[in-house]
């Protein structure tokens, strides 16, 4: 029997789509040797992860993921790729032994994580599919120290819930320090070898400059005569 459109669980369909793109992109990042393609696959993977956040009801985090990660961090990475993408470094091959060892270790770690994730009964229950109000206002208020979101269902009645003003301040100062530090690390250094225009200027000074220098020398002699000193 062909299911009608209304009978399809679109949440599951989109979850499978985004999960496949996210996991496939992540594995492609590992498998690719070309650094430019790695950046492209990373964009796909992180974008699909933002879709997963939307599906989980965390639309503000998903939007931030798109804006900061995909729009900011990855543009930064692509700039790094472009600045360092000389021909011998675009694809640096990994030896087959390292690749096999990483595959074994990775599969072992993956088995461990999946076993741990599936071992808890409560996490395997199907979701309640309970819709909540948009999270942007509660997050914004909580960042300035005021909680407007509903407390958890089985929380103690008199529980005091703190906002996130202190972490917000710490992160803002952290970002400022990082901005200054990154600008300091990446600033343009003074060149050791003179540039071509400086070489040309030092080889043959123009006549006006030479005359001015001669006047300066004679004036210096006159001054040394006046003061009786020897320069």
């Amino acid at each position: 029997m062909i299911p009608t459109l209304a009978a399809i669980d679109w949440h599951a369909v989109f979850f499978l789509l985004f999960a496949a793109v996210a996991c496939g992109g992540a594995i492609a990042v590992v498998a690719a040797d070309n650094v430019v393609r790695m950046a492209l696959y990373l964009v796909l993977s992180l974008g699909a992860t933002a879709g997963l956040f939307f599906l989980a009801g965390a639309e503000f985090v998903g939007a931030m993921q798109l804006m900061i990660y995909v729009g900011g961090t990855l543009v930064l990475l692509v700039f790094g790729v472009m600045l360092t993408a000389q021909a011998p470094f675009v694809s640096i091959k990994t030896t087959a032994g390292d690749r096999a060892l990483a595959t074994i270790v990775g599969l072992g770690l993956f088995g461990l994580l999946v076993t741990a994730g599936l071992s808890v009964e409560a996490w395997r229950q199907p979701g309640s599919h309970r819709l909540t109000e948009p999270a942007a206002t509660p997050i914004g208020m909580a960042l300035v120290g005021v909680r407007v979101d509903a407390p958890p269902a089985n929380a103690p009645a008199a529980a005091v819930r703190s906002g996130y003003l202190l972490p917000f301040e710490i992160v803002s100062v952290h970002l400022l320090v990082v901005l200054v530090g990154a600008a300091y690390l990446a600033r343009a250094k003074r060149r050791k070898t003179p540039r071509a225009i400086e070489v040309a200027a030092s080889a043959e000074p123009p006549t006006a400059v030479a005359e001015h220098a001669a006047i300066g020398r004679s004036a210096g002699r006159a001054a040394s005569v006046l003061t009786g000193g020897s320069v």
Binding site: A22, V30, Y69, L76, L77, V81, L113, T132, V171, G181
Partner: protein, 122 residues
Amino acid sequence: MTGLTVLPLATLVGPVSVAHYLVVGAVLFVAGVACMAVKRNALGVLMGIELVLNGANVNFVAFASPYLQADGARSLGLDGQIIALFVILLAAAEAAVALAITLNFYNNHATVDVDRADDLKG
């Protein structure tokens, strides 16, 4: 059949739950760890770090979501989303500093191969 009782993979065929998100997070995490270990390009190592942080973020958001939690189960609530936001911000800061270090390394050594960064080797 015994494998299914030890590792209940059959739950992954059912409706979307927190466990599905945990599996996706595990794939992202393991891919990131392998990327950090295998890549010899310094920018590839940076991409691996981004993948690891993203895998952790998937788990935080899944635990924070009342949509995915079963009825009566206690979710992280707003805490998980705030933690995920802070992880995204700190990942951006980390990428900026690490990229500055990488560009400095490139200017001094004319390569981005991390195997060549052995100046401090005794």
